[in-house]
């Protein structure tokens, strides 16, 4: 094979910002939605729990059950994709040299982060829309005023969990990240205020669980969607977790 002269004549430069961000974010989101394990974690398990807990009265809940279950499943879905999914993906992306590959292009460093954040938020939007549609079919009746707070809480929850996911996925070996991310997911699901509300836990334990990102997000979403009044504490807790994890992650995250 021969190449016509001038084929590779240098013409370097940086692409348009909007296009870089969009292409990067879309690639990230598509990779998540195409990955079987990620789909199981971010969509199928939350959907199964939403339907199961609503229809099968294994746990006693006030009626209508779907109103009680949906906010907690939202919290689970956000934790699953923004924390566990992000951490595992980042761990393996580092192993595969993806971050270095992208850092070696004209893509500015802040866009490398922004692309992942936007891609991750796109996945969260898809999760929430799907879960909300299924919940609505089962008779979900959210508080109208609370929906506005819900949007803010989802955003803060996704950013806080996302920062924690990057903190974990950016620091350790891929296999270790995989194990830790799944164990933490399981512990927070069962004991972190998602399945069992922090408010129904005894004394100090309940107070502590409400200070976890999972507890704060679940309590906040429950408050917003059931009564329209989430209170200020969940917002503050999520902002603090997000800020602390981001500050730490900027120091500890490695490209490879």
């Amino acid at each position: 094979m021969t190449f016509p002269a001038g084929t590779f004549t240098p013409s370097p430069g940086t692409g348009r910002l909007g296009r870089m961000l969009l292409t990067h974010a879309r690639t990230e989101a598509m990779l998540t939605l195409r990955n079987g394990e990620q789909v199981l974690l971010t969509l199928l398990i939350p959907l199964a729990l939403l339907v199961g807990l609503t229809l099968v009265p294994i746990v006693s809940l006030p009626d209508p059950r779907v109103d009680e279950v949906t906010p907690r499943i939202f919290a689970l879905a956000i934790m699953s994709s923004a924390f566990t999914g992000q951490a595992i993906a980042l761990g393996f992306d580092r192993r595969y040299g993806v971050l270095r590959r992208l850092a070696a292009t004209a893509l500015p460093r802040w866009l490398l982060v922004a692309g992942r954040v936007v891609g991750g938020l796109a996945v969260v939007v898809i999760q929430i829309v799907l879960l909300a549609v299924v919940a609505a079919i089962m008779g979900w009746s959210p508080d109208a005023v609370g929906l506005l707070w819900t949007v803010v809480l989802i955003l803060l929850g996704a950013l806080a969990f996302g920062a924690l996911g990057v903190l974990l996925g950016g620091a350790l070996k891929a296999e270790v990240v995989l194990a830790v991310a799944n164990i933490v997911w399981f512990i927070l699901l069962l004991a972190g205020g998602i399945m069992v509300p922090a408010s129904s836990m005894p004394g100090v334990l309940g107070d502590l669980v409400a200070l976890l990102p999972s507890g704060a997000l679940a309590e906040g979403l429950h408050g917003a969607l059931v009564s329209g009044a989430p209170g200020w504490q969940p917002f503050l807790v999520l902002v603090l977790w997000g800020a602390a994890a981001s500050a730490l992650a900027t120091r500890t995250t490695k490209l490879t």
């Binding site: 084929t7 370097p12 598509m30 990779l31 595969y96 040299g97 993806v98 070696a104 292009t105």
Partner: protein
């Protein structure tokens, strides 16, 4: 203006990089003029990747200076990266990504990229367009990585072992590409542990070992520093006395046992020398096998300089 354009594309002075226990690069000097192809040749662990990654700004030198396109690759990376193309030694794509998807992402980062579909086809990746990266063969992964290095029309490319793991056909394609890059005025710094590759592609060859330059020059300078020299290689029983054989040969012939049972006579090898060697072996009661006379190759140069085989 002209002074900037006249400066070498890559200039490395006294580069040193230590890791706990090892000195990966030890006072290395390098100069690559614009539009030229430089091959960094050396065995595994010689310090090639560390040197290249320092030039790309991913490794911070412990000592020495590195200037790439007149920029400091570490502190001015945001200015440098848009102008260079990078092919790392391994990896460089999401495990689940498709080749064209990855290439389009890298293309989006460049102002005037080549056509990704054309490059995919040129590199023979069309047939595996929908295969996730982690299921591509090593050679296919390498080709995608090369495509990512070239897609942005860089003025300088770093190729770290570009043909490792490739079949001969793919290797020939990569050679064609590097020659086309050179023709079009792109500066290329590549690493290899294959002397044929360095001889075939490079204007300058820098042979390194233990992080130090052991020889440098054009391929012909390196192989013809002793133009009268030729080499005679043969195999025989291990452990024969090279001193006795040398004594039987003309004074300017050198004899080494390069590995057990493999002997190398270098110097003015003529028919008389060949017959002396076979006769001397016969006296020892052994048959000189696989007897071969040839010109010095880069590998021989390397062997002479370091006493080690280049392939490892």
């Amino acid at each position: 203006m002209s002074s900037a354009a006249d400066r070498p594309a890559v200039e490395v002075r006294g580069l040193t990089k230590r890791y706990s226990g090892t000195t990966a690069v030890d006072g290395l000097d390098l100069s690559l003029p614009r539009g030229h192809v430089l091959a960094l040749l050396g065995p595994n662990g010689a310090g090639k990747t560390t040197t290249v990654e320092t030039c790309e700004g991913f490794v911070r030198p412990d000592a020495g200076t590195v200037s790439v396109l007149g920029l400091d690759p570490v502190t001015q990376s945001e200015k440098l990266r848009p102008r260079i193309g990078v092919m790392p030694q391994g990896g460089g794509a999401y495990p689940g990504v498709r080749a064209e998807e990855m290439l389009r992402l890298v293309a989006a980062c460049a102002a005037n990229p080549l056509d990704p579909a054309w490059l995919i086809e040129t590199l023979g990746l069309s047939g595996s367009a929908r295969t996730p990266y982690k299921r591509l063969s090593g050679g296919q992964q390498q080709r995608l990585s090369l495509a990512c290095a070239l897609i942005g029309r860089p003025e300088l490319v770093f190729l770290d072992e570009p043909t490792a793991g490739m079949d001969p056909q793919a290797r020939r394609l990569v050679w064609e590409l590097v020659r086309a890059l050179r023709t079009d005025g792109v500066t290329v710094l590549l690493t290899t542990h294959l002397m044929e590759e360095a001889e075939a592609l490079a204007d300058h060859v820098v042979i390194i070992d233990h992080g130090r330059v052991v020889a440098e020059g054009t391929p012909s300078e390196l192989t013809s520093e002793h133009p009268a020299e030729a080499q005679l290689r043969f195999r025989a029983r291990a452990g024969m006395s090279t001193e006795l054989l040398a004594a039987a040969l003309p004074e300017d012939c050198r004899v080494v046992e390069s590995s057990p049972g493999a002997y190398l006579v270098s110097g003015p090898v003529d028919p008389q020398v060949v017959s002396t060697v076979t006769a001397w072996c016969a006296q020892q009661g052994v048959l000189a096998e696989e007897l071969h006379v040839g010109r010095r190759s880069l590998e021989d140069v390397f062997l002479d300089l370091t006493g080690r085989e280049l392939r490892s």
